[in-house]
């Protein structure tokens, strides 16, 4: 029915972990309104440096929504060190691929996750 595969459409239709996380330990945002994609990821981190909870908010196309959704699914419960190693290609691959044009503009979900982890680490650094 569209340029996207079924898995992408399934995530677009039923995105996981949508919304804002109150009292998040880290918040990361990438993209801008000019290019048409903004992704924001909120994380909660437990004592063992694992992502205990994660949410996203996205303004963007089908690929932007689906990549945001699946990255939250993958990262939930992951150790921060492992989450940092995730890249945008891993995210696209886990969706079974994206149309080539979307790989550059709307495949930023791992970057948003990294930004959230960075934010968490800088907050933690400041508090110590």
């Amino acid at each position: 029915m569209s340029v996207y595969n079924e898995k992408v459409m399934e995530h677009f239709e039923n995105p996981r972990n949508v919304g804002k996380l109150e009292n998040a330990d880290g918040v990361g945002e990438v993209g801008n309104a000019t290019c048409g994609d903004i992704m924001r990821i909120y994380i909660k981190v437990d004592d063992e440096e694992r992502i205990s909870d994660i949410r996203f908010q996205t303004f963007g196309c089908g690929a932007a929504v689906a990549t945001s959704s699946i990255v939250t699914e993958i990262a939930k419960g992951m150790r921060l060190d492992d989450a940092v190693a995730l890249n945008n290609k891993d995210v696209a691959d886990s969706l079974g691929g994206l149309p080539p044009i979307k790989l550059h503009c709307s495949n930023l979900a791992a970057d948003a996750l990294h930004a959230a982890i960075e934010d968490y680490r800088s907050r933690k650094g400041e508090s110590q």
Binding site: K20, T34, G36, A64, V65, I101, C105
Partner: protein, 387 residues
Amino acid sequence: MQRSVYLDHAATTPVHPEVLAAMLPYFTRNFGNPSSVHAFGRESRIAVDKARATIANAINADAREIVFTSGGTEADNMAIQGVAIAMADKGKHIITSSVEHHAVLDTCEYLAKQGWEVTFLPVDEFGRISLADLEAAIRPDTVLISLIHGNNEVGTMQPVAEVGELARKKGIVFHVDAVQTVGTIPVDVKALKVDLLSFSAHKFYGPKGIGALYIRKGTRIKPLVHGGGQERKYRPGTENHAAIVGMARALEFALENMSDNVDRVTALRDRLIKGLLEIPEVRLNGHPTDRLPGNVNVGIRYVEGESLILSLDMKGVAVSSGSACTSGALDPSHVLLAMGMSHEIAHGSLRLTLGIDTTDEDIDYVLSIMPAIVDRLRKMSPLYNEK
């Protein structure tokens, strides 16, 4: 079964069954090459001549002023490049607007790289050029003005008759891209004082792959394609006679029912606009009244166009958007940006174009599903949560 609602008539329309029926014999029984001397050829020649006369009559032109092309894009290219080359000895300045279809815009940009100078006129918030801007842009070496009649994205009508008056007075060739208007509203090349006019059959329930360029008698223009003597050497190549017959039949239909269709479609359009504007923070793009009968274009804040298209598609509704994501470009619609819209708003634009087959039930259905779709995407959007 899920309802299926097609609201993308500005992109293309279905072929009318009677148009198809008129075309079919020309693929099999009456397949002759119109240039052949024998009976098969003569039969096809008669069909092409008759169709040409019908089409010319529909826009108040002479049959000898119609050149068939592969569609609107080719007609636009031929008009602009053909006049530019033919008039190069007189001057190399072209005036157009910043809200043209890409067939005109990209052709002008191509010529600008080849040594021509092009002025792209600005537009107001509704997408209209001003006559004062146009008059100020005219120079002694201006050889061509090219303007879209009804905008394919936002539906706004340009003051084509006034521009025609001015161009004729100044002795400048005037081309109009009438792809969205011919077959939809009355178009009279003499009343509009145009020298060249492009139009395309698949926008008015005819087949794809056939269009025409009206060339007023005496207009200096060179062909882009060289070959045989067809189309009085302006566009050689064996005529697509089945499509030409279909184009003529489609235009006959369009004219027969034009005023009823305009009234009915305009009423549906206005009801759809009114309903959409009831959703918070939705605005109408383009002129509120002086717009194509079937065009609705709205800006839906905090959401992105492709997401809207996908969501509507899942509910059986076919629409389009000026969002970058839908065109493969990085920037959103040049038309919306030229109208002074921000990137964010332009990314959230939605175009719904109605046709003669659109019903009241179609409009009811779209209006019934739209609020929930917008709400779902807004709840996902960081922009909405911040406001």
